[in-house]
Symmetry: C2
Subunit: 165 residues, 2 copies
DNA sequence: ACAGCTTATGATATATTGCAACATTCTAGG
DNA sequence: CCTAGAATGTTGCAATATATCATAAGCTGT
């Protein structure tokens, strides 16, 4: 069961996120078409990161409509450019941005990826930590471009599952 | 030119790394076979990360011997398990561990990947930075396990190349 | 040295991911 | 309505990854 239920309790926050997405898209002069919106909804409704091919499957299940992978890739590209979704390079999957509805400005996204259940948590990391990390990097003569971090580990649920073995 | 020259100046440090690899393998009860050794040598001699298929090519060029990809994947798996090589998940490539010959214990490997020339630098990050990062993460109920960070950016060479445009 | 077990490698086929290139449809403005 | 540009569909390929069965190489006890 990869999906949280649509149109129920969670549905509200999804609707809110879609509203915000629509707002920021129109502001940016980007069309949030029906399909793009549905792709975003699919990601919002999922509690795990999805690959492009996963999205095709979920999309068909949710919206009774088949959609080519190629299109999904392009839509993801658009959505990612608007910061509505993030690409997790380390697993080649995508998640909806956890802060679509928030008005506070976008920080550098950091992700905790549970290697067991594949849950993804988007977290804030104290700025000074990031900065010292960045220092340590630039000391090596390197300049970070994306400075998005993806950290792998175990979420609390999966830890407990292990302990109770 | 993806390869540094074999058997020359660099050859010494490779030989040393191979020695260390042999030591840690025999300690772990793993056989460092000729082919595994050659795969490792291939990675050690390369200044960029290599895909499994790249390794097949380099291997043939270096050792005048054709080797199936399947085998390369299996050997990489073994070598990675012994921490002699690291897999860069964000680019689906592999690098030799930069600390094979070092005796100091393995820290969390951090990789700086130049998106331009694909050079990979493995760096050490100050322990306190990692620790505060770890704190910030465990506050979210997460436990880091196989923590490996892959940071994308520009190496100093490529930065200069851009500046002088 | 040999039989028999285990591990390593080879060979073949196929799945999966990602994207290029061109065709078609849709949409907004004139 | 008509047309340019944007969005989506279609086809096909290249790179990555794994499954499966077959063969070879190493080790172990007799």
């Amino acid at each position: 069961m990869k999906h949280a239920e649509h149109g129920k309790i969670i549905g509200l926050s999804i609707a809110k996120a879609i509203d915000s997405a629509e707002a920021s898209c129109s502001k940016a002069g980007i069309r949030l078409t029906e399909k793009r919106k549905n792709v975003l909804k699919t990601l919002l409704a999922s509690d795990t990161a999805l690959s492009a091919y996963d999205i095709v499957d979920e999309y068909r299940a949710e919206f009774q409509d088949s959609i080519p992978v190629m299109s999904v890739y392009r839509m993801l590209e658009v959505l990612a450019h608007e910061n509505l979704v993030h690409k997790l390079a380390s697993v080649n999957k995508y998640v909806a941005c956890a802060h679509i509805s928030c008005d506070h400005n976008h920080e550098i996204p950091q992700f905790l990826i549970c290697d067991q259940c594949e849950t993804v948590r988007e977290i804030g990391v104290r700025k000074d930590i990031i900065e010292s990390l960045q220092d340590s990097v630039s000391n090596s003569g390197f300049m970070l471009t994306s400075q998005q971090m993806e950290l792998h580990g175990r979420c609390s649920d999966c830890q407990q599952a292990v302990e109770s073995t």
